[in-house]
Amino acid sequence: MRMGPRFRPIYAVLERELLRMFRQRTRLVAAMVRPLIWLLVIGGGFAAFIGEARGVDYKSFLVPGVLGMTMLFGAMLAALTTVYDKESGVMRMMVIAPMPHAWIVIAKVVSAAAAALLQAILLLVLLVALGYAGRGAEWGLLAAALAATSLACAGVGMLTAAFSRSLDNFAGIMNFVIFPVFFLSGSLYPVRDLPPALGWLATANPYTYGVDLLKHALLPGAGSADFGIGLDLAVLALATAVTVAVASWRFSRESAYEPMIHVLADRAK
């Protein structure tokens, strides 16, 4: 019997994720429209009275933020489908497969990251076509920034999913995880211009470093970034490793999926 890591299960989960993404057209369209609204409406509005942020016009400053937003939402939503999987039968298919249960977490994180990455690439194509991105970008660094950010976002999403019992707290997750993570990052304003308390929170938020890396890649030398490239990459890698480790630990405890058995027992009565 061949033991050790197997890659077909990861491919299985990845394929299903992408299949679902392309079938749920509205989810895909929303993922493109939401950041464009931010950029054009909010960015346009603020640009009128802010003018410039840290030496770049406000709309250009916002481009890394909205690109990051696509990944944050895309990866979080994809990872959170794990909660739905727990309630539907799909998690049963996964837990009975001959692989360590931590492997499910890895597969889900990779798939969520891939879905987020694809959405970010689609948006990037749109942004380049509209003339909001591309000039002077460092493409190699951009690729690394997209990959590292989507993985970290997927890790945070998976951690949230591992501790969520049902889809009912989805609104709570939106309000207490996704929005704070987005607003307390350097997406809308430079971190160093924030008042101290908010600045500390933003500095403690791993997502901030993803947006920072995107600023380095999209606006090289413009001075809109707050941290170094090395620090950005290190924080993102660490955030991915820690969230995946904790989510895997949580998942390898049966309690992460056991409640459903109880539900089944009750329903059968």
């Binding site: 019997m1 061949r2 033991m3 197997r6 077909r8 299960p9 491919y11 299985a12 989960v13 394929e15 299903r16 299949l19 679902r20 079938r23 539907s88 039968g89 799909v90 049963r92 298919m93 996964m94 837990v95 009975i96 497969a97 001959p98 692989m99 360590p100 049966e254 999926y257 056991e258 058995i261 109880h262 089944l264 027992a265 329903r267 059968a268 009565k269």
Partner: protein, 316 residues
């Protein structure tokens, strides 16, 4: 792969559990279960809802950690070697384990890849099994559009796609109408004939367990009795007598004096006629039949056995 793993371990036992126990806050769902099931056996675990069947199956399938006791499945320890156990078994859950948004073929592809099967193998087995289970023309339909019976059949196909040596079926016919229940049983028969796999099934439709090599009754987490269905039914007696009547208490007492302790279920009293021949029963009816509004003699079945042992009575 089947080599003895330690001296004294009988590899012919496909499943062996000793003192298996699961405690949930304040509730012993499974209470010290001992079971041994040989390779190739068709074993039925019977019991009412909430008696601990699913919990037992899930402990054997490594999805729930036992609170105490131990079990080996296909020679592997369920706590220490869960991945090896899962590689050797198939589990058809009590509730559907399918993605309703995907098609039949997509579900099987997903399940097959999760079991690390090459796509070519998945394709071949899927074709064969869908044919065997009468689903060949449904391959591209979304699972959500299948009827309950078809979905159950697909669940079983999903559970055996990787050709497990041991198959767990948790109430495979629950919620289905009679024709569909019959169909599912035919499928299971065909599978067993083709593969010779060990099958452990749970059900609370006792009449369905007649085809099992061996059955065990579980009640409040404890095994009550186990044996071959036919011998059991024979042990119960040659005939069952069912009576109803206006003064059931008096009638039952009179019958008890002749036939031994009976069972009461609502307005019906049951008695076993063990040694009595037909003539003896006829004499009994001549004597007491007038006090009964209904007097029925019939063959005993597994249901009677279950009611008997569930009532705490000895089969004798």
């Amino acid at each position: 792969m089947n080599a003895p793993r330690a001296a004294g371990v009988d590899t012919r036992a496909a499943i062996r559990a000793t003192g298996l126990r699961k405690r949930y806050a304040g509730l012993l769902a499974v209470d010290g279960l001992d079971i041994e099931i040989s390779s190739g056996e068709f074993f039925g675990l019977l019991g009412p809802n909430g008696s601990g069947k699913t919990t037992t199956l899930h402990m054997l399938a490594t999805l729930i950690r036992p609170s105490a006791g131990s079990a080996t499945v296909a020679g592997f320890d369920v706590v220490r070697e869960p991945v090896s156990v899962r590689a050797a078994i198939g589990l058809v859950f009590q509730e559907s384990a399918l993605d309703r948004t995907l098609s039949v073929a997509e579900n099987l592809r997903f399940a097959g890849l999760l079991h690390d099967l090459p796509l070519r193998v998945i394709g071949e087995r899927q074709r064969e099994l869908l044919e065997l289970f009468g689903l060949a023309d449904k391959r591209d339909q979304p699972v959500a559009t299948l009827s309950g019976g078809m979905r159950r059949a697909l669940d079983i196909v999903r559970g055996v796609l990787h050709e497990p040596r041991i198959l767990f079926l948790d109430e495979p016919t629950i919620g289905l109408d009679l024709p569909n229940r019959r169909r599912i049983w035919r499928f299971i028969e065909r599978l067993r004939a083709r593969t010779g796999m060990t099958v452990l099934l749970t059900t609370h439709y006792l009449e369905e367990a007649d085809g099992c090599d061996r059955v065990a009754f579980i009640r409040r987490g404890r095994l009550v009795e186990s044996g071959a269905p036919r011998t059991w039914v024979e042990r119960l007696g040659r005939h069952m007598l069912e009576v109803e009547g206006p003064d059931l208490d008096g009638l039952a007492a009179a019958l008890e004096a002749k036939l031994g302790a009976g069972l009461r279920e609502g307005d019906v009293a049951y008695f076993r006629c063990r040694d009595e021949d037909v003539a003896a029963i006829a004499r009994l009816q001549a004597e007491m039949g007038s006090r009964a509004s209904a007097w029925r003699i019939r063959r005993p079945n597994l249901n009677d056995v279950f009611l008997w042992v569930a009532d705490g009575k000895d089969l004798g």
